[in-house]
């Protein structure tokens, strides 16, 4: 029971402190764009109950999830390939770095040329954003595999898929998960950006629209919702990590005791 309470304090402690600080600092705010927290929370209650949740949040979440899964999947596949085969890395790294430097706001129009203006475009934008952190981390994870371990695999002719499954992916998984965490935040950011182009609905669109129509408390409430979405996804990711990295956690703890 006390353990649960402790966790709760740990999870909620800082957010509560920050909220309280924000509440008091912003209480008398007359700056148009920085409304008091009370107004924001009020707008939150009004805006994000009922219809808006279905109309804006659901489509966003769907695009986000799809784009994320596609992006991370592609990144792991590419990352393993690039990490394992040195010539491939030498050949592809400049190309990747070239594309990575494109800001999404200028990249999206180009993607629109190929993928249209619908959900496909938005999913691709999200997927492309997720690609980089996971790709980089996968490459580094694969490059950093223990030499003795890969020698062992080679000596026992654990090759091909088995090598991939039992050595490469597992060995790189701690770093892949770090990348996946970063990708999650980026996916949410790109969800917002993609919804600035040819939007029909979505959380990002709603925030931009609120900003444009000067519904500032509503805009901030949308941003808060984004943050909450981030927390929710991060918890989900933690569950995945809990399973995938059970050995790693054990290893760390065991060695540390």
């Amino acid at each position: 029971m006390t353990a649960v309470a402790r966790r709760l304090v740990l999870i909620l402690g800082l957010p509560v402190i920050l909220l309280v600080v924000w509440w008091f600092v912003s209480a008398g705010s007359t700056t148009y764009y920085l409304p008091p927290l009370s107004a924001i929370l009020d707008a939150f209650g009004r805006k994000w109950t009922g219809g808006a949740l279905r109309d804006h949040v659901l489509p966003s979440v769907a695009r986000l999830s799809l784009g994320y899964v596609l992006g991370v999947g592609a990144a792991v596949v590419l990352g393993v390939l690039i990490g394992l085969v040195r010539p491939v890395r030498a050949a592809t790294e400049p190309v990747f770095e070239f594309f990575r430097a494109f800001p999404p706001p200028v990249l999206v129009p180009v993607i629109m040329l190929f993928a249209g203006i619908g959900d496909t475009m938005k999913v691709i934008v999200i997927a492309m954003g997720c690609l980089w952190p996971v790709l980089l981390n996968t490459v580094e994870g694969v490059r950093g595999l223990d030499g003795i371990l890969s020698d062992t695999s080679r000596a026992y002719r654990i090759t091909g898929l088995a090598r991939l499954r039992h050595l490469v992916l597992r060995g790189a998984s701690p770093q892949i998960m770090t990348g996946a965490r970063q990708a999650m935040a980026i996916a949410i950011i790109l969800m917002v950006i993609s919804e600035m182009f040819a939007p029909t609905n979505g959380l990002g669109y709603s925030i931009v629209e609120d900003q444009r129509t000067f519904a500032i408390p509503e805009m901030w409430s949308g941003i808060i919702l984004l943050g909450l979405l981030g927390v929710a996804y991060s918890l989900l990711l933690r569950v995945v990590e809990w399973r995938v990295l059970a050995w790693h956690r054990g290893l760390r703890r065991a060695r540390r005791s």
């Binding site: 700056t31 249209g116 203006i117 939007p199 444009r212 000067f214 519904a215």
Partner: protein, 302 residues
């Protein structure tokens, strides 16, 4: 945008000139202020002008409200929305207006050359691109359709930036697009065909955009506001009567190609804000649900 260390703050400096920052959108519409700056209309009134291009209202309105810019440029509908939400701003001078001539305005709805759409009426039930949803574009296009005898209710508006519209039209992602210069000339040159002149249809000699400031500045420094408005008006007048110089100054702050600059249609720059046309816009906006309450034009306009 010279990156001067000293921020513009609207207060007179020791030399008697006032530093003034203005947030503008780097398009044709603001040519007069660039021209006026070159011609010294501002400096002779003791205003040291800094023009800062930004992509749109997202940056300009907050900048003006917070005092980072002393003045800004924005379309009328956006400002009316702001007014209904009690954003503390006030219009100070006219910005840009429609030519009022069907067939020769600086904004129009275009379709692909081989499109079955022949007139504004045919837009009913189609997909039309506008740069911003729930703003001046869709309300005026609806009015065009209405005036041509079509039903605007079924039109599906899609938000696409002006630069991307030509591509969206070509790829068939939209059936029609509302564009302004220079995109209008560029798409026409590529074979697109105008089917509706929405600014003309919305109201005669429609005032499209204006210069505005924060109510705080109007109270604290009405003198500066007056001087700025005077300088703007002189600039507008000059621009309206010297189209060649306008086309030349465009080369200084845009990348519009030489041929587009000479061929495109310039808007009108009257010094008078056409209040009737703004009332018409307000009505359109209200009937299309852009504002929830009627904007208080007397509070907004000077």
């Amino acid at each position: 945008a010279c990156g001067s260390e000293e921020p513009a703050d609207g207060t007179p400096s020791s030399t008697g000139t006032t530093k003034v920052a203005v947030g503008v959108i780097p398009i044709v519409d603001v040519a007069p202020i660039y021209l006026g700056k070159d011609k010294g209309f501002f400096s002779k009134r003791g205003i040291e002008l800094t023009l800062t291009p930004a992509q749109g209202g997202a940056a300009i309105v907050p900048g003006v409200v917070s005092g980072q810019f002393q003045f800004g440029f924005s379309n009328v509908t956006s400002l009316m929305i702001a007014q209904t939400k009690a954003v503390p701003i006030k219009v100070v001078a006219n910005g840009v207006a429609s030519t009022g001539k069907s067939g020769a305005d600086f904004g129009a709805v275009v379709v692909k050359g081989d499109s079955p759409i022949q007139s504004a009426k045919d837009l009913a039930g189609r997909k039309v691109a506008v740069n911003t949803l729930k703003n001046i574009g869709d309300t005026t296009v609806r009015e065009s359709v209405r005036k041509a005898g079509g039903d605007p209710a079924g039109i599906q508006f899609v938000e696409i930036g002006f630069p991307q519209m030509a591509a969206a039209l070509d790829n068939g992602q939209v059936d029609a697009a509302w564009v302004v210069e220079p995109t209008l000339s560029a798409t026409k040159a590529a074979g697109a065909r105008p089917v509706a002149w929405n600014f003309v249809d919305a109201a005669p000699d429609l005032t499209v955009a204006v210069y505005f400031t924060s109510t705080k500045l109007t109270q604290e420094n009405p003198e500066l506001v007056r001087r700025f408005a005077e300088a703007i008006n002189e600039s507008l007048q000059y621009a309206d009567t010297h189209p060649d110089e306008v086309r030349a100054v465009l080369g200084s702050y845009t990348q519009i190609s030489e041929e587009l600059r000479t061929s495109m249609t310039l808007p009108k720059w009257p010094t008078q804000i056409n209040k009737t046309s703004i009332e018409a816009l307000a009505r359109l906006g209200q009937s299309d649900g852009v504002f929830t309450t009627a904007p208080d034009l007397s509070a907004l306009l000077p």
